[in-house]
Amino acid sequence: MLPAAFDYRAPTSLDEALSLLKQHGDEAKVMAGGQSLIPLLKLRFSRPELVVDIARIPNLNAITRDDGHVAIGALARHVDIERSNEVAAAAPMLAEAAHWIADPLVRNRGTLVGSICHADPAGDWGAVVLAFGADIVATSQSGKRVIHAQDFFQGPFTTALKADEVVMEVRIPVAKGGAGGTGGAYLKLERRVGDFATVAVAVQVELEGDKIAKAGIGLTAVGPQNIKATDAERHLHGKEPTDEVIAEAARLAAAAAEPKEDARGSVAYKKDVVRVFVQRGLKTAIGRAREARS
């Protein structure tokens, strides 16, 4: 099918983009890679009056590292994250997740920021930014504001963004001075390449000595939005990662999941895969954290 007609603007400055959004509000849709929006336009599920293509705005595609964060710019594509040296050095779990998004062709166009703003409960990046406890930096004509990942996702395809706001970057907190002592894993069960996840799990841990100092667990496709498994995270804090501790965290994460039964499986199935994946993911992440330290 072909999209219904719409107006299109490709602003070359952030100010121009923000002005358009202020003017058109809900009738406008922001587009970066278009890999989520264009399919909706073609099926006529989305019929905006105006599409604001932000791809011509300079300096939005960078992936940068400062002490304490890796910043992913609004136009940084999945493939850019997969190939980034900064990501590989400081937050390699991002690259692992990027590898599993959609298919290679979509990864050449789609963006992390676009993906989280689309807020599909089966979107991979939502779980990742929740696991890292990332900050989302939004801007409008009224100014900048920082939204914590936990507050960003508010329901299926619903975020905390206002109609006149654009996300400039996502800031991933990383250990100062390299990945030392941190490790992550992204596990995804998909029926085939290109399908949305049946279940996916993002795990990120920071070790201090023999114990887990920090743990982040994000879940994909098992709820009305991406889920942060806070009970499981709290269970891990300050503990030695024994098999029992890990198994209990996995159980708690599964309990936090609210999947729906569908063609991909039953509620019981999806919860159990959460459990299995959190278990596997924690073991992998801890192993990597130990390696990164040595």
């Binding site: 007609a5 299109y8 278009g34 399919p39 073609k42 599409v51 791809a55 290679p104 062709l105």
Partner: protein
């Protein structure tokens, strides 16, 4: 809305509604019908073209999105009568049957080899995992790309030799 882009080395301009998809601009406005549409959910890759050397789905791109960019379609792979290494590989290894997925496959294969001249089988299969084929079961497509890699390597080693041969009947 005015749009201008380079396609297979030639500058093109058009005046299209913003909603016109890149695949339809190529097929209808430019009469380059080698790029195909196979689905409506961005799932099959039959529409794959190169934009500044990177393979993307042209059904999931507006024509106006690639303003000023450089596009390569299947029609731009050959050098005159001389098929590219990838095209020659598909012919030599029987990498096509109905031919409908083939332009997209060859475009993706070309981009892969441009980036990774000696891919493993797993790397090839991963690279083409966004391109569906119903006829071949992928076995000979993998062989075709491996064949092309060898041809390219030989051509790089001996630059005087041609990279492909004018083959394939009419």
């Amino acid at each position: 809305m005015k749009v201008a882009m380079k396609v297979n080395g030639v500058e093109h301009a058009g005046d299209v509604e913003p909603r016109v998809l890149l695949v339809d601009f190529l097929r209808s406005n430019l009469r380059l019908t080698g790029t195909h549409t196979g689905c409506d959910t961005s799932s099959c890759g039959a529409c794959t073209v190169l934009v500044d050397g990177e393979p993307i789905k042209s059904c999931t791109s507006l024509a106006v999105q690639v303003e000023g960019r450089s596009i390569t379609t299947v029609e731009g792979l050959a050098q005159g009568a001389t098929l590219s290494a990838v095209q020659a590989g598909f012919h030599e290894e029987h990498g096509l049957q109905c031919g409908f997925c083939t332009p997209g496959m060859m475009i993706t294969g070309t981009a892969l080899l441009d980036r990774n001249p000696d891919p493993t089988e797993d790397e090839i299969r991963w690279a083409i995992s966004g391109n569906i084929c119903r006829c071949t079961g992928y076995m000979n497509i993998v062989k075709a790309i491996q064949h092309a890699a060898k041809v390219r390597a030989a051509a790089n080693a001996a630059p005087r030799e041609t990279a492909g041969a004018a083959t394939g009947g009419q």
